[in-house]
């Protein structure tokens, strides 16, 4: 039996710490996982050690559907060189379906251009250096 490769070695460039490790472990299972408060029930992002709304430290990493709508949208014509990244490169901040104001930022799948604000999207999973990486794509039937 082989020892599983630790998540920080699957994502060597990611700033993984005890507060956000569940997000990256989730990626390995093709899930978007954010901390949800055991006291007030709210999710928050990015992953903090306590619930910013009620200050409870009782946080439960909980997968989300990965669906939402585009809230902010840019198209980078230049930027830092990174594995699997070519320019122009879309970056979208998506308001997640589960909670108003809860947002997650990543890229969009190739060929989208600059996604229009309000576009319904869902998660797709890219392969980045052998590890799954989240990207948004327009939901079936969505027009840009």
């Amino acid at each position: 039996m082989t020892t599983p490769i630790p998540v920080w070695e699957r994502y060597p460039a990611a700033p993984i710490d005890q507060d956000n490790v569940a997000l990256y472990k989730g990626w390995l299972r093709h899930e978007l996982t954010l901390p949800r408060c055991g006291n007030c029930g709210k999710w928050h992002a990015p992953s903090y050690p306590l619930c910013p709304f009620c200050w409870s430290f009782d946080l439960i990493p909980t997968p989300l559907s990965g669906r939402g709508t585009v809230h902010l949208s840019i198209l980078l014509h230049q930027g830092p060189s990174a594995k699997g990244v070519s320019y122009p490169y879309p970056v979208v901040t998506v308001e997640l379906a589960e909670q108003a104001g809860l947002r997650f930022t990543s890229t969009a799948v190739e060929g989208c251009g600059r996604l229009a604000i309000g576009t319904p999207v869902e998660l797709a999973w890219l392969d980045r250096d052998g590890a799954p990486f989240p990207a948004f794509r327009p939901r079936d039937g969505a027009t840009q």
């Binding site: 460039a13 992002a45 990015p46 809230h71 902010l72 949208s73 840019i74 198209l75 980078l76 014509h77 230049q78 930027g79 830092p80 990174a82 990244v85 122009p88 490169y89 970056v91 901040t93 104001g101 809860l102 947002r103 930022t105 990543s106 890229t107 600059r114 604000i117 309000g118």
Partner: protein
């Protein structure tokens, strides 16, 4: 509600600037030291008079290379320092540090300095400079983010989506700054710019392009602050800090989580300026409205109350003076007369403070506005750098 016991009690008595360039070959130490020495001399003071030294080179600074305050003290051999620190990069923040140190009596006179130094990440020319190879970036985020500079492009997409603003409106902010920079010998960019040239510039973080972003530059500013009483004994007409404010929205550095553009750091700043100032928009003779990104200027016009929310487009059309190719609010008030962050250089507001001091004390040379008494400074963006100040001419001297 916040009091304002410090109102008009602290003066800017000296200024020094190296001016700005996009291809400098001096160290940040050299630039900062030159600005510091010229500010101390401008105030008619000497090394023994400086009791406090504050830089804007603290954590999170844009200017991530030395000299911090201790190194400045060593370079200038300042013998009587009782307060020092490295503050936040955007200028009102270290200005407040300096004011508080003086008002509390921790020291009487502060040297405050700010410098910009292009990094290999901010400038291609800087990347080719062998003397900058040792610089490490503070900002090594992956491309999939809406933080720092990308946050402004991202929120610009939202601002353009929610309001009837087009690229021409953003372009007027850029052309205004360039027109004004043409008569400022300290400015990095002094060639003329037309609206058509703005519209043809390449996009960088779409919807924003090359000419929507402030300029990475090399250069430094320094200021001498002291009590208003002390300043009245010094050579120049004192410029008083009528009020200064910072505003930090509750999503702070989580820019993508900001609830909406209806409430952010600029709103908090404006509320503070209104509560703590005896002067109104009608009193403003010269306005410095942050143009680190063009659409930030439009937002400030709305938040300051010069126009209603969402009305910055028509407001710009109305304030545009086509013959002069620049903005004149109410046909009277120039905006960013030194060329803004877009054309003088991206100085996190430091260039605004220096130019306001020159205008108010009547030392602005060819760019001097007729008899100004009040300068409004609206500095920074929406998240962790929203700031404002009202500087006034001291008429009690």
């Amino acid at each position: 509600m916040t009091g304002n016991r410090i109102q008009d009690r602290i003066a800017i008595a000296g200024v020094g600037s190296t001016g700005y360039t996009r291809d400098g070959n001096r160290t940040a130490r050299s630039l900062a030291a030159e600005a510091a020495v010229s500010a101390i001399r401008d105030a008619g003071l000497d090394r023994a008079d400086i009791g406090g030294v504050i830089s804007s080179a603290g954590v999170g600074s844009w200017t991530i290379v030395p000299p911090g305050a201790t190194e400045m003290v060593a370079m200038l051999r300042l013998p009587n320092v009782t307060y020092f620190g490295d503050g936040n990069p955007v200028i009102v923040s270290p200005l407040l540090d300096a004011m508080h140190a003086i008002y509390s009596g921790t020291c009487d006179t502060v040297l405050l300095y700010h410098y910009n130094y292009r990094t290999p990440f901010s400038s291609r020319r800087a990347a080719d400079d062998p003397f900058r190879r040792h610089i490490r970036g503070y900002d090594n985020l992956p491309p999939e983010n809406a933080r720092n500079a990308a946050a402004y492009a991202a929120w610009a997409s939202r601002y353009l989506h929610e309001n009837s603003i087009d690229r021409e409106h953003l372009g007027r902010v850029a052309v205004n700054s360039r027109t004004n920079a043409r008569s400022n010998p300290l400015a990095a960019m002094r060639s003329p710019l037309t609206l058509d040239e703005y519209l043809a510039a390449r996009l960088v973080r779409e919807p924003l392009g090359m000419l929507d972003m402030d300029l990475p530059v090399d250069g430094a500013e320094a200021f001498i602050l002291t009590t208003s009483e002390h300043a009245r004994d010094l050579p120049h007409t004192p410029v008083l800090v009528h009020t200064a404010a910072e505003g930090l929205v509750d999503t702070a550095s989580d820019e993508e989580q900001l609830a909406s553009l209806a409430h952010h750091g600029q709103d908090i700043v404006v509320r503070q300026l209104r509560a703590r100032s005896q002067r109104s928009l009608n009193d403003v003779d010269v306005a410095y409205v942050y143009d680190g990104f063009t659409f930030i200027t439009l937002s400030w016009f709305e938040k300051l109350g010069w126009c209603a929310p969402g009305e910055a487009g028509p407001f710009l059309d109305h304030a545009w003076h086509d013959e002069q190719q620049r903005l004149l609010v109410d046909g009277r008030v120039p905006v960013n007369p030194q060329g803004g962050m877009l054309s003088e250089g991206g100085t996190q507001g430091a260039g605004f403070v220096r130019d306001a001091v020159h205008q108010l004390r009547g030392t602005a040379g060819d760019r001097q506005i007729d008899d100004p008494r009040t300068a409004l400074l609206a500095i920074g963006g929406f998240f962790y750098n929203s700031q404002g100040a009202v500087l006034i001419r001291d008429d009690n001297r």
